[in-house]
């Protein structure tokens, strides 16, 4: 007679946390671009000295890279990107005004590859 309410309580105790946890919020599970400096799509007065990207997961430095090209498609980065945790930076040579394109390709430490690109307007 007392088993049924006990069973019902046990089912609620199991199912409710499941529904609550599946029903709310969002969390990251492989390396997506979280933010960038200069910011994605932003306009800056002068060419930045470096571009820094922050990702949602830790990166493998040996298998992650970033290039920056100017309006003419010429590389303006100085070479190999530096990786620290979930952050990747590359220095830039001085460049003129125009649209700079940042291309990134990263491997998160759980071995998932992601890639993407965005632009930054330099000057008017």
């Amino acid at each position: 007679m007392s088993k049924e309410p006990t069973m019902r309580r046990a089912i609620f105790a199991c199912v409710i946390p499941l529904l609550l946890l599946l029903g709310i919020g969002e969390a990251a599970a492989h390396a997506l671009l979280d933010r960038a400096e200069p910011r994605v799509g932003n306009t800056v007065a002068t060419a930045p000295s470096e571009v820094t990207l922050w990702f949602t997961q830790k990166l493998e430095a040996a298998f992650s890279s970033m290039t920056v090209t100017d309006s003419a498609g010429q590389r303006v980065d100085t070479g190999k990107a530096r990786v620290s945790g979930s952050q990747m930076s590359v220095s830039l040579r001085g460049g003129g005004a125009g649209i700079y394109r940042v291309n990134w390709r990263v491997l998160s430490v759980d071995a998932h590859r992601t890639e993407g690109n965005f632009t930054v307007q330099v000057g008017r």
Binding site: L18, I24, K58, A62
Partner: protein, 316 residues
């Protein structure tokens, strides 16, 4: 080139599944011995079982080492999108070992595997059994750092990692415990009343370990699902989510057989020990445990593949 990528992904899923299963059997067998049979008795039966359990752990360790060695070049091929033949270069393999988190964890696990092998060789010493158990726990828990849980940043990532470690150890305790239980009942069939008494006590203790493992798997599984799937919609509509749903169904099947063993057959085992007229449920418990093992191995097969997929939370 797509078929080559598929080939590498398929191989990665298979090698991970074999490696995870073998490592789980190693750790679970030693957990079973330390938590179930050693505290239950110091009799000749317990010692004889302990030796057999050690042999099972040694076989599991050998499979884990071989599959772990294969995992490295397959992982290298996977992360560079190259066919196996091109990935098998010293340069690439040494880069993966020396410059990735996977490589670091691999090195740590090799050391743990060597310590464990030495401990199993000198298993008659109590200290070596304790160190062996700790090495086995480290060997299985370190897997968490090779997957999704090991890649996060921030407080949620720490929670995910801690939960994943618990999940992996609980899964190992269950699967390895079942293998040990079947081993024990196989020995009981060849033994006398003392064996039966020992097995009954051990089965009773394993029931408690099983309940703790299932409870831990359930709640840590919920947290993992929250982080990697995120919504019921993603559970239903993504490849990752559907595979996870299949895993949950198999888990439910395991729980059902475990419940029959725990609540129906184990009490009968106690009765049959006291009365010669009661039918002996050893055969039924063994059969159910074997079914649970098959379901458990199928779950490890799914886990092997899940780690190669983008989690559902980002696949929508």
């Amino acid at each position: 080139m797509d078929w080559q990528v598929d080939r590498v992904n398929g191989a990665l899923g298979i090698v991970r599944a074999i490696h995870f299963s073998a490592t789980a059997v190693v750790a679970g067998t030693l957990i079973f011995r330390a938590v179930v049979t050693e505290p239950a008795s110091h009799s000749a039966e317990a010692i004889a079982f302990g030796k057999q359990a050690s042999r099972v752990a040694a076989v599991g360790l050998a499979i884990a080492v071989v599959s772990g060695a294969i995992w490295l070049p397959v992982q290298a091929a996977n992360i560079t999108d190259r066919p196996f033949e091109e990935a098998m270069t010293t340069d690439l393999l040494s880069t993966v070992v020396a410059e990735t988190q996977f490589g670091l964890i691999l090195e740590i696990r090799i050391v743990l595997a060597i310590i464990l092998a030495v401990c199993l060789a000198y298993d008659h010493l109590a200290t070596m059994r304790r160190v062996g158990l700790l090495s086995a726990l480290g060997l299985v828990a370190a897997i968490a750092w090779t997957g999704h849980a090991g890649a996060g940043v921030g407080d949620l990532a720490m929670l995910h990692l801690a939960v994943d470690v618990l999940h992996i150890i609980a899964a190992a305790a269950w699967l390895g415990g079942l293998v040990s239980l079947v081993l024990l009942f196989t020995m009981v069939r060849c033994g006398d009343y003392a064996w039966k008494s020992f097995a009954t006590e051990a089965t009773n203790r394993f029931s408690n370990l099983g309940i703790a493992a299932v409870g831990t798997l359930f709640f840590t599984g919920i947290v993992n699902a929250r982080i990697l799937v995120g919504s019921v919609h993603a559970l239903i509509t993504t490849e990752y989510g559907r595979l996870l749903a299949l895993k949950l169904a198999l888990f439910a099947g395991m729980v059902a057989f475990a419940a029959i063993n725990r609540f129906w057959l184990t009490p009968r085992l106690l009765l049959s020990k006291e009365s010669a007229t009661q039918s002996n449920p050893v055969g039924q418990i063994t059969r159910n445990s074997l079914i649970e093992i098959v379901l458990g191995l199928a779950i490890y097969g799914i886990v092997g593949v899940l780690g190669t997929l983008h989690p559902a939370i980002h696949s929508l």
